[in-house]
Every structure is written in structure tokens, then in C-alpha cells.
């Protein structure tokens, strides 16, 4: 794997050269500081771009074109990364040697058509298309409780701090839909194209010069922009008395979700010690939470914790029976205290190190993992992979303990089923 990062002024290009795949993957990533009132519009804009374009004026025609290009699949996604919202357009297509000459270039042209040539008349999107994506989003937002675990995460964020981007619903807001129309959506689209920071990633087996000229030909942004605001969220002070909230849901199972903000992490702790510590605590099936809450006490089927470096937060989630609520919290609290007291073994540390190192060593086996790593390396100014592996090997127990002492259990939310 060879990476060439090139600042082209209006965007950064990352050419990741590898002969491991039969496809070429291109990701165009827009990012901008997140504003709550803009989220719903952003989602609708990206959905609209996949409905039709100037040249292919229906979703069906777009799909047929992608099928004709030997299944040049294009996907769109919106995600919050700390203080930012990112919108990505992904294209994955077979290399020409498996299809026909120029299929790759035609596919890139197709991606260009979707991003830069929207189905617009008189400076506004077409009303019937806007009505459709609004309707579609309304249905999705109305069905949000059908995924109890996802809904519990949303509610947890809002209870933790409703002013923080941590609480923003990246799914969008129903209440915003009424005021959105074909005109203000077009404005929102223009804002994305003209003011968002852009990164373009290309992964595959290609000649760098040829790819560079292809990308320059099809991706032209006018302005020169550089991100200024940090991606890392700063949390409000933690509650001395924890907040416990229950909300009823007409399900049989309950979902427990706990927010544990982290304060004043050093760069070393963020990049290394707490990542490793979280794997020991609740990162997988070999973790303290899994072994104690699930295996030893059979209180749940799923339990896991995630450390989000950009949010300064460890989230814990478990699917439990409501009668086991107190017992589960007691065990989780005890396990968290044990992390702070260093009650874990050298074997625990070594296993977690192996897992982290393996994940780093396997990054070049997966296109998206490579792209994500290049992106997070920029955002978090990470060391190169080799240095990271060496540093992981050196992490000491005392480093983990020190980092875990900065974790504070703050908000405990139970989406309570099994009532009716």
C-alpha cells in the first residue's frame, strides 16, 4: 500500500495504491462544522442527489446507468464526526481489465454527474422529487423507535447535554420538514459544494499520474478552504450526582445506555491508553463487561462499550430484562471502578494489544478501513501505522489506569420494556 496525499488547493486528494483489489473505490468526502438546524436539509440534499440528475432524470434511469457500468455502485452517507458533519459519496467499480475500456472513466463521470449536475430548474430542485425525499424521511423518522438500541443512543445523547453536537440527531428532525422546500434545499446544496472542505480518496491499482488527471478533470471546486475548528468535542462538566432516566417503550426487552464522558485526555491517552483500556473493559466478547454481565450473571445477550475519541466519551449499551436493571448497573459500576483501580491482568492487556495490532495490520485488507485510517490520521494527527504498532506494544498498565480515572459515569438511560 502506497499513499500519496496531495493538497490541490480546493481539496485534498489521497491516492492509495494497492494491487489487492479487483475494484477501484472512490470516496468524495464533504465536511463542515455541524449545525443542528442544517442536518435535516443535508440529509434531504444527499438523498435528492441519488434520486435523479440533469442527465438521468429519474431514480430508475440512474440505476440503469449504474448497472450498465458493470454495477458501478454509488452510495451516500452522512455521519457526525465530533464537531463536524461529513457527507460521503462512494463509488466502487471493477477495474477496466474485468469490464471494458474506459468503464472506470465513465463511472467517474457518472459520479461527477451525481454530485455536480443535479436535477435543477430555475435555481431550485424539482418539487415532486423534493416531496418524495421529504415523505421518505418523514416515514423513516416516524419509525425511529423500531430500532430500540439506536433510539436509546439518541435519547442518551439528548439527556447528557441537549446543547452539545453529541446530542444532535444525525437522522434528521421531523419538525424541520415543514419549512424545507425546493429552493432552500438548493441553497443548502450550493453551500455544501461551495463551502465544505473536501477530501477525495481513490483506492486501487492505477497509475498515479493518470488518476490524478482523471480526478482533476471531473472534480473541480472553486474555493480554497481549510478546516479551522477542531473535530474534538469538549464536554460540559460531569454531574456529581448521576442522572438516571427511564422511558417506557412497548417492547419486551429493555435497553440500557450509559454515557461516560472523559476529561483532559492527553494525546497519548486518546490515541493509545484509553483505546486499549476500553477493549479490556467492554470492547468485545473477551471483555470484562461481556464476561461478567453476560456470561457470569446471564443478564443479557448483548453488552458492549465504545470509546469515541472525537466525542471524548465511552458509551455502554446492553439489552436487558427490566428486573435486572439495578443488578446490571451495579456490576457495570463495579467493573468501571476495577478499571480505575487496575484490577485487570497482564493477559488482559496483552490480548487487547494483540487485537489492536491485528486491526492495524489488517487495514490494507479493506478499502474502507484504509480510507478511514487516512482520514482519522489527518483529523487526529495520528502517528503512522508502524509507529502506532510500536507504541501500542509499550503501553503500560499504569497508563490505562491513569486514562480510566478520567472517565466518569454521568447519564444512565433505560428504555424500559416489559411493562405492558
Amino acid at each position: 500500500m502506497k499513499i500519496l496525499n496531495k493538497d490541490l488547493g480546493s481539496y485534498k486528494l489521497h491516492l492509495i495504491n494497492t494491487d489487492k483489489f479487483k475494484t477501484v473505490t472512490i470516496k468524495v468526502l464533504f465536511h463542515t462544522p455541524i449545525k443542528k438546524e442544517e442536518i435535516t436539509k443535508r440529509i434531504l440534499v444527499t438523498n435528492l442527489l441519488l434520486q435523479s440528475s440533469k442527465k438521468f432524470d429519474s431514480r430508475r434511469k440512474l440505476t440503469i446507468e449504474s448497472e450498465n457500468l458493470y454495477s458501478a455502485d454509488i452510495g451516500i452517507g452522512n455521519q457526525r464526526l465530533g464537531n463536524y458533519i461529513t457527507t460521503s459519496f462512494n463509488l466502487q467499480v471493477l477495474m477496466d481489465k474485468y469490464t471494458e475500456e474506459d468503464n472506470l472513466e465513465k463511472s467517474i463521470e457518472f459520479l461527477n454527474e451525481i454530485i455536480f449536475n443535479p436535477d435543477v430548474e430555475n435555481k431550485s430542485f424539482r418539487k415532486e422529487k423534493v416531496d418524495y425525499v421529504k415523505h421518505d424521511l418523514m416515514v423513516k423518522l416516524n419509525s425511529i423507535k423500531e430500532r430500540p438500541s439506536g433510539y436509546a443512543s439518541i435519547r442518551l445523547g439528548e439527556l447528557f447535554d441537549s446543547k452539545s453536537p453529541f446530542s444532535y440527531r444525525i437522522t434528521g428532525y421531523i419538525d424541520d420538514l415543514d419549512s424545507i422546500n425546493e429552493n432552500n434545499l438548493y441553497d443548502s446544496y450550493l453551500e455544501m459544494i461551495n463551502t465544505d472542505y473536501v477530501d477525495i480518496f481513490v483506492v486501487g491499482d492505477f497509475d498515479n499520474k493518470e488518476m490524478l488527471s482523471l480526478v482533476k478533470k471531473y472534480f473541480k471546486f472553486k474555493k480554497i478552504k481549510k478546516p479551522k475548528k477542531t473535530y474534538i468535542l469538549k464536554n460540559r462538566n460531569y454531574r456529581i450526582r448521576r442522572l438516571f432516566v427511564k422511558e417506557e417503550i412497548n417492547n419486551t426487552q429493555s435497553v440500557l445506555a450509559i454515557a461516560n464522558p472523559v476529561y483532559k485526555l492527553t494525546k497519548y491517552e486518546r490515541d493509545y491508553a484509553l483505546c486499549l483500556g476500553n477493549l479490556i473493559f467492554g470492547g468485545g466478547v473477551d471483555s470484562k463487561l461481556f464476561k461478567d454481565v453476560r456470561e457470569a450473571n446471564s443478564l443479557c445477550y448483548t453488552i458492549r462499550s465504545w470509546f469515541n475519541k472525537l466525542d471524548n466519551m465511552i458509551i455502554i449499551k446492553a439489552g436487558i430484562d427490566k428486573d435486572n436493571y439495578t443488578k446490571a448497573i451495579n456490576i457495570i459500576t463495579k467493573k468501571l471502578d476495577e478499571m480505575k483501580k487496575g484490577k485487570f491482568t497482564d493477559d488482559d492487556i496483552n490480548n487487547a494489544k494483540e487485537e489492536l495490532i491485528n486491526a492495524l495490520e489488517s487495514i490494507d485488507e479493506d478499502e474502507n478501513a484504509m480510507i478511514n485510517d487516512v482520514m482519522s490520521s489527518e483529523i487526529l494527527e495520528l502517528d503512522d501505522i508502524k509507529t502506532r504498532i510500536n507504541n501500542i506494544k509499550k503501553i503500560k498498565k499504569s497508563d490505562i489506569v491513569k486514562a480510566f480515572r478520567k472517565v466518569h459515569m454521568d447519564t444512565v438511560f433505560l428504555l424500559e420494556g416489559g411493562i405492558r
Binding site: E146, E355, N358
Partner: protein, 420 residues
């Protein structure tokens, strides 16, 4: 070792059958770091009743195959497979379907010892009254988690309407009351009857040496164990759907629909694999992303999500259609009118063939996907299909047209889920 050349994709599959009947399939890659290994028994939730060699008939509680899968992770030494694999940063898991149960591990290190360990832990059950009791709490939470998902509930209901006798009516995990009846004796009975060499296979893809892998498998599993699979009670499923229409309530905001079209494939003179390709082609042309149907119902704003798939058992195939709509009755009528006036066009047929060929080539990069596909074929068609791309290329439009002409599209069940 026998070598099978996988045509058009330039790969070689190595196969071997041990004297006790255990089958081995190995697909080595030159350019991967990772490996994916599964050990599979052809035993799943479809087996409801069987007669062993001593002529004793067993009818264990429902959900036992899945329960058994959970319990295989119990070790007499106290160190479970999760802990063992964690030492080398390797992941492991298991899953149970209607037709098989498989145990997998995947990673990049310690291949030999990891393989040895898999073969040992799956061949050494350790069930006690206490560890069986413990698992009941965990599986009960797993069952509840699924039962809280409206999509899962409507699928269950549709299955109950479509099938009269088939075990496909039932939940793979059983029910809380059924799993509470399971004893360690039941587990040993099922284990001893179905976890036998002649009913199992090992499947390896990715980075490994086939000669070394075969030697390890021989050392661990070559034996004189010539036990045969017990006689499984055959369940005949009538062609007629069990119930035509059902309305149910669910914890949802937007209604959902499920339609199950049940057809006979008894008189179609095609190899099963080819037959299933033609059925997929039919449903893709009718309801796929580039179908006229999808465009029409989207424009009318009566469709949100739609998923379509075939389930093939013996001489019966069922087309499952699930959708979300604010006007469920209209959506149902649209689907039914599609059944009444099926049109297939050659242009779509050829375009979708192209997409499928591209999909087969893209798949090669994914060692897990390749393993899943091979496993599916071995279970479903009891053979390796080495020339898939040729088969797709040779598909004839006339065959599809004849299939449409000779199929009865009037035998279906409809389920509608409304808000509680």
C-alpha cells in the same frame, strides 16, 4: 487432494474427503493476510424429529440446534473459545440457520493453533446442568431482542401464513418456554447424532497453506467414526398457502406489509442452481431497483422500504416481499397487479446478467463472502459450483419467459401490520 479450477476467476479450490466422511474445502489466496475458517454441521432448526440407529425417536424442544451452538462455547478447562482466540487477536463466532450450524474464526495470526483449537472445541462438548441453566437467561434475552423488532415479527407471521407444516414457520431460536425445557441430556443426544464426521465439513479461505491445514485436520479428525446421520422425519409441505390474509398489530408508526408467493418448481426441468438464478432474475426484473414497479410505487409515494428474496425448499419456492407504506392496501394492490401482468424484457435481462457477473468478480476480494457462498452451495446444492459466471452468461431469455408462462402467481399470503 483434489483440485477444482474455479472458472473465470482464476482460483483453485482444494478438496478432500477423510475416510470417515468429513469433507474439507480450501481456497487459498496469494495476496491476503487474513484467513477465514468455518467448521460446519448440516444440522439446523429444520430438524424437528429424528430416529437414531437404535431406532429410538427423539423430538427435542424447539430451538435446540441454536441452544447447542451457544453451549459448544463451554469448556471443561474453564477457558472459553473467546478467551483462547483473544490471545492472538483472532475473532470467533458461531451461527445457526434452518439448515446448518457453523463455528468460525478469522484473523491473521496463529493459524495452525487456531485451527487445531476450533476442531477440538467443536468435537468436545461439555454440558452440565448448571451451564445449561445459565444459558437460558442469555438466550431468553436474545429471543426477546428479536421479538421486539417489528420487521422480524411480520416475517414470522408471514411464515406462519405461507407454510402449513414446514419448520420454516418456526423461530430458529425457539421460544422462551421451549428453551426452558432443554436439558443437558437433550443437548448430548442432538450433538451425538448430528455432530459426526459424515455430516460435517471444514471450509477455509484466505491466507494459509492447504498442505499444512490438511495435515492438521487429519491429525485432529481422521478416525474410524463411521456413524451415519440419523433418519430425519420428513415433513411434507402442501403447495397451497396455509392462510391467505392476516392483519396484525405492531409497535410501529408506519404500516408494514408482507406478501409470500408460493410456487411449485416440481415440473421445471432445470438444475436447482440454475432454477434459482432464473427465479432471482424474475424477481429482480419485477421488483428490483431498476424495475418499472419500483418507479411507479415511489412516484405514488406508497412505498418506502422494499425487500424481496426467494426461499427455496425442495420443490417449493416462496417469494418473500416486505414493504413499508403509509398506504399499505394500495401497495398490496400494486404488488398483486404485478403478479397478474408479469412482463419481462430482454434488455433488463441482459443488463442484470452483466451486474451479476460483475458481482461474482467483486466477490473474490472478500474471503468471508467467498466462504459464505461456498458454504451456501454445499448445503443447498450439495456441490461446489465451479463455473458460475459461465452459467450466468449462458442464461437464456426464453427460459425465463417459459418460467413465467408456467408459473401460478395466484397462490399467496398477505400480512398487514398496523399501528397498535
Amino acid at each position: 487432494m483434489k483440485k477444482i479450477n474455479l472458472k473465470n476467476i482464476d482460483m483453485t479450490l482444494y478438496t478432500e474427503v477423510l475416510s470417515n466422511g468429513l469433507e474439507i474445502y480450501m481456497l487459498p489466496y496469494k495476496d491476503k493476510k487474513n484467513y477465514y475458517v468455518s467448521f460446519v454441521t448440516r444440522y439446523g432448526s429444520d430438524v424437528l424429529e429424528f430416529t437414531d440407529i437404535s431406532k429410538k425417536t427423539h423430538k427435542p424442544p424447539l430451538g435446540i440446534a441454536h441452544f447447542l451452538e451457544h453451549k459448544m462455547f463451554e469448556e471443561e478447562s474453564g477457558e472459553d473459545p473467546f478467551t483462547f482466540y483473544a490471545k492472538s487477536g483472532t475473532d470467533c463466532n458461531a451461527c445457526t440457520s434452518c439448515t446448518n450450524t457453523q463455528y468460525m474464526f478469522w484473523g491473521s495470526k496463529n493459524f495452525n493453533k487456531n485451527l487445531e483449537y476450533l476442531l477440538r472445541f467443536v468435537t468436545h462438548p461439555y454440558f452440565t446442568d448448571q451451564n445449561v441453566k445459565k444459558e437460558k437467561g442469555i438466550i431468553a434475552e436474545e429471543i426477546k431482542m428479536y421479538n421486539d423488532m417489528p420487521d422480524y415479527k411480520i416475517e414470522r407471521k408471514l411464515r406462519e401464513c405461507v407454510y402449513k407444516n414446514s419448520p420454516r414457520r418456526l423461530d430458529i431460536a425457539g421460544s422462551v418456554s421451549e428453551i426452558n425445557k432443554i436439558t443437558k441430556e437433550d443437548l448430548y443426544t442432538c450433538y451425538n447424532n448430528f455432530y459426526i464426521p459424515s455430516n460435517m465439513f471444514v471450509l477455509i479461505t484466505g491466507n494459509f497453506d492447504p498442505d499444512i491445514a490438511l495435515e492438521i485436520i487429519r491429525n485432529e479428525l481422521d478416525s474410524n467414526d463411521k456413524r451415519k446421520v440419523p433418519k430425519i422425519k420428513k415433513i411434507t409441505e402442501p403447495l397451497k398457502v396455509c392462510e391467505e390474509k392476516k392483519v396484525m398489530k405492531g409497535n410501529i408508526e408506519i404500516p408494514k406489509i408482507g406478501i409470500g408467493l408460493k410456487i411449485s418448481t416440481k415440473d421445471i426441468k432445470l438444475d436447482k442452481f440454475e432454477l434459482h438464478l432464473y427465479l432471482d432474475m424474475l424477481s429482480t426484473i419485477m421488483f428490483g431497483d431498476s424495475s418499472l414497479f419500483k418507479e411507479r410505487v415511489r412516484d405514488k409515494k406508497i412505498l418506502n422500504d422494499l425487500s424481496v428474496s426467494w426461499e427455496n425448499i425442495d420443490d417449493i419456492s416462496v417469494l418473500h416481499i416486505y414493504g413499508v407504506s403509509i398506504k399499505p392496501d394500495e401497495l398490496i394492490n400494486e404488488v398483486l397487479s404485478e403478479f397478474n401482468s408479469i412482463t419481462v424484457d430482454e434488455e433488463s435481462f441482459n443488463r442484470i446478467k452483466k451486474v451479476w457477473i460483475a458481482r461474482e468478480i467483486k466477490m473474490i476480494d472478500d474471503i468471508e463472502g467467498m466462504a459464505d457462498n461456498l458454504c451456501y452451495d454445499l448445503i443447498k446444492y450439495k456441490k461446489v459450483i465451479s463455473n458460475k459466471i459461465d452459467i450466468i452468461k449462458n442464461m437464456k431469455f426464453k427460459v425465463l419467459k417459459d418460467l413465467v408462462k408456467n408459473t401460478n402467481f395466484k397462490n399467496y399470503s398477505i400480512v398487514k401490520m398496523e399501528k397498535e
